[in-house]
Symmetry: C2
């Protein structure tokens, strides 16, 4: 599977999320979700279409192909895993965690994602460790 840029990954992820809600995505929704202007979204969508990662009918729907969906899901999975780690384990606010998860999600491998998930569960579902960690964090988090 070819490597695409992190920007293009963002577009696939956004289209995937819109598809979840509405079956198909539209240019306006994509542009709004990624906070870009419609022409910017269009040009990304056209490149993704050339890569056969989605199908785009003129003035019509946008739909991920099987290959596109696969990439989109994997990006979103990394995003989710990192977000949960930042919020539930590192104890960061959701608002600051979101953009950081969005930044990191393009850099980690499947194996790394899995390890993040394991560590999250290891801590989260062991009350004594979770408690110890929370206390440790509380105690040291104002240092330096």
């Amino acid at each position: 599977m070819k490597k695409i840029s992190s920007k293009l990954e963002d577009y696939l992820e956004a289209i995937y999320l819109l598809q979840q809600e509405n079956i198909v995505a539209r240019v306006k929704g994509v542009a709004e979700m990624l906070d870009v202007r419609p022409p910017t979204a269009i040009s990304a969508i056209q490149r993704l279409s050339e890569l056969e990662l989605l199908e785009h009918q003129h003035y019509g729907y946008i739909k991920l192909t099987r290959k596109g969906l696969k990439i989109a899901k994997s990006v979103y999975r990394r995003h989710e895993t990192l977000l949960i780690f930042l919020v539930d384990i590192l104890g960061l606010d959701i608002e600051v965690s979101l953009p950081q998860a969005c930044g990191m999600e393009h850099s980690i491998s499947a194996k790394t994602r899995k390890r993040f998930e394991l560590l999250t569960n290891f801590i989260k579902f062991d009350p004594s460790i979770l408690k110890k960690w929370r206390e440790y964090c509380e105690e040291h988090c104002d240092e330096k």
Copy 2:
């Protein structure tokens, strides 16, 4: 402090590391470290010079300014923290960890970095937790 692109952060970090070894950095070293051609390095160095993050004498040395050094150190610190986390806690090989740390280092805040460091120390320096985590990881890491 102005936000610069992650590419420019990479250049500052590389120059910082070269400075550590040789007092001053040179174009060739920077280009080699970042795996780009000299003209690419030059153009980045010129932009950084305009931002007053480094001083660059024609055909001569490259030296970070105080502002540049501050950014470089902070990037490198994030890099180090993430690398140690990936290797010592998540148990990943150094070769796969390096590029992933390089990717993530541009996305995390100072607070997030600190939390990563705390979590690393919390696990690393508690032998019983470390042992439990290693076993847990070993047991589950082949799933999915």
